[in-house]
Symmetry: C2
Subunit: 194 residues, 2 copies
Amino acid sequence: MNFGRFSSYEGFLNELEAFHGKKAPGGVLGLQMVNLAWDLLPKGILMDVICETRKCLADAIQLLTPCTVGNHWLKIVDTGRFAVVFYDKQTGEGVRISLNMEEMKRHAAVNEWFLKLVPKKEQNLQAILDGINEGGASLFNHCPVTVDPEVLKARPKVPPVICPGCKEAYPPFHGALCRGCQGVTEAYFHRRPQ
Amino acid sequence: MNFGRFSSYEGFLNELEAFHGKKAPGGVLGLQMVNLAWDLLPKGILMDVICETRKCLADAIQLLTPCTVGNHWLKIVDTGRFAVVFYDKQTGEGVRISLNMEEMKRHAAVNEWFLKLVPKKEQNLQAILDGINEGGASLFNHCPVTVDPEVLKARPKVPPVICPGCKEAYPPFHGALCRGCQGVTEAYFHRRPQ
């Protein structure tokens, strides 16, 4: 078992709590998935990641791999499934790792937590984490995938331009106005009169 | 100056490098923006964040606040602008902090880096970081905002269901099939024959 840049399981768990807010079982599933990916993929590749959920799993990926939302090596394509694609950023060849729903049933505490079968206050966190670590790689299915060449393309490194609407800088390929002035923030927030 | 859960500026910079991959100037701008937000917002609130870019700024927010992509307290609404909304998750009242493009011109190294006016290899990272820290709060504009009540709503905590297509678990409110089986991953990756 490897813990990325952390020296131990406890070191990872503590950072998961500091970063994510709690020692989330989904983060420990993420630890197992990342380890399985390292086993399955060729050594020495530069790995990028597509995570299929915005939940705790995404935070574990950010802590355990070089891939974060802010450096663009982690992309989130939210299907709501507990699954991750790990791939060679040069060739696009990789592996999709997802939960094996049948195998998970062998670990009652994990199954009850994941499927929300018992109320949170009746769950035993330690039993869930232990179940995940006992199950290890057996908890997952995996299949080879190829990532689309368009996804592999580096983002254009073009100088920003000033939006004639808000006078802020934005990438010119967004259009004649920035996306803010095109209305994409409308559903999220509004300026309040001072 | 406050460094969140890090004990010093150097501590934050080192973690920015470990997490994000480099001591990115945008992360240090993020440090200044988070400090300005702490100054402007009432003490003792629970703060959530909307970041308007997927770049280094988003990683600084994840390191310096309790808000991450995986715990849903950080949302990214990508307008491509270097701006962040920090807000009280209970009331939705907050502040939007954005770069002051005029003020940035007073700090040549920062301005040249941000607007990509000189090639990367001719940039002096230390001069850029020093310029950001000299400029501090003066580098930003800020205005009060109200976040939409829909954004404040907690996500429904409903048990997942099994997709009849892929047999994986997914949130039932996504529809009769999971979003993967609805096609949202089509543009990203494909299963490769084994």
